[in-house]
């Protein structure tokens, strides 16, 4: 039960962070990606803020074997920089640059009742399902 509350709380706080930083707004994100034009460096500060808070915790917990409300940590143990990582990340970046939406902001923006957000999220879910379908045939994937 407590893990449910943690999940809901954590998701909500994440959504507040995306709102405060305005990273929920594709126009703002595209401003960051327009490095060679009218550049808005804000996204770097978002990442810095998040990393400054979370990195020390990950470091302090590196040898702990149990979280507070679950039986164990479920963290990716993948180490190798493989073809999937490179091709997948490259593909994701193209989609991200086309609209300015990555998964978190796209989901959060559903709160703003914008039709385009709904179309984006549905297409993204379609992309997940399509990959799962193809996964069985050609590309074995793993994710964090």
């Amino acid at each position: 039960m407590i893990s449910r509350i943690i999940s809901l709380t954590s998701g909500t706080i994440f959504g507040v962070g995306l709102s405060v930083s305005n990273m929920i707004n594709p126009e703002k994100v595209l401003g960051f990606l327009d490095l060679f034009g009218q550049w808005d460096p804000s996204l770097i500060f978002v990442m810095l803020g998040a990393i400054i808070v979370s990195a020390p915790v990950f470091f302090l917990y590196r040898n702990k074997n149990k979280p507070l409300f679950a039986d164990n940590f479920s963290i990716s143990t993948l180490k190798s920089i493989d073809k999937n990582l490179i091709i997948g990340s490259g593909t994701f970046g193209i989609g991200w640059g086309m609209v300015g939406f990555c998964p978190g902001p796209a989901i959060s923006s559903l709160a703003l009742l914008n039709t385009y957000s709904v179309f984006f999220v549905l297409s993204m879910l379609g992309g997940f399902l399509l990959t799962k379908l193809l996964d069985r045939i050609i590309i074995p994937t793993q994710h964090t």
């Binding site: 034009g37 978002v46 979370s54 994701f92 990555c102 993204m124 992309g127 994710h143």
Partner: protein, 137 residues
């Protein structure tokens, strides 16, 4: 390059709030707040489905809370056409699934854990995104 619309304070504060969400999910449930993975698992995996679903619900509640508490209308603008939006959504879904993560999983959690995989992934998706904006922007 011209620097415009730069909002370092709100960006940094928003980042700290996102970092809090990451550590609560990690210390509490032992998991990384990689949103592409959470959304994908809500769709295709029975494991932790309720937790994943509730995290996604929270993501949508966040902006509602924020607007309610601050009375600030969140600036929001999409200028892309529908075919572009649908193609981009597909590419983001396929890419994050094959590449094992997105801006949150690789860009925030992975970099915070000093994962070489995530640092590489972040550099790659930043580069292809910047090139895409340069080409179609």
């Amino acid at each position: 390059m011209n620097i415009v619309n730069f909002t370092p304070q709100s960006a940094f504060l928003g980042g700290i709030i996102i970092g809090l969400a990451v550590i609560i999910f990690f210390i509490g449930n032992g998991r990384l707040a990689g949103i592409s993975g959470i959304v994908n698992d809500t769709l295709v995996s029975k494991q932790n489905r309720t937790d994943n679903f509730l995290f996604v619900v929270g993501l949508v509640l966040g902006p509602i809370f924020y607007t309610f508490l601050t009375k600030i209308n969140i600036p929001f603008l999409i200028t892309s056409s529908l075919p572009i939006i649908i193609s981009a959504g597909l590419l983001v879904g396929i890419g994050t699934k094959i590449g094992s993560g997105c801006t949150s999983g690789h860009g925030i959690c992975g970099i915070s854990r000093l994962s070489l995989r995530s640092i590489t992934a972040t550099i790659i998706f930043m580069i292809t995104a910047i090139i895409t904006v340069k080409l179609i922007g």
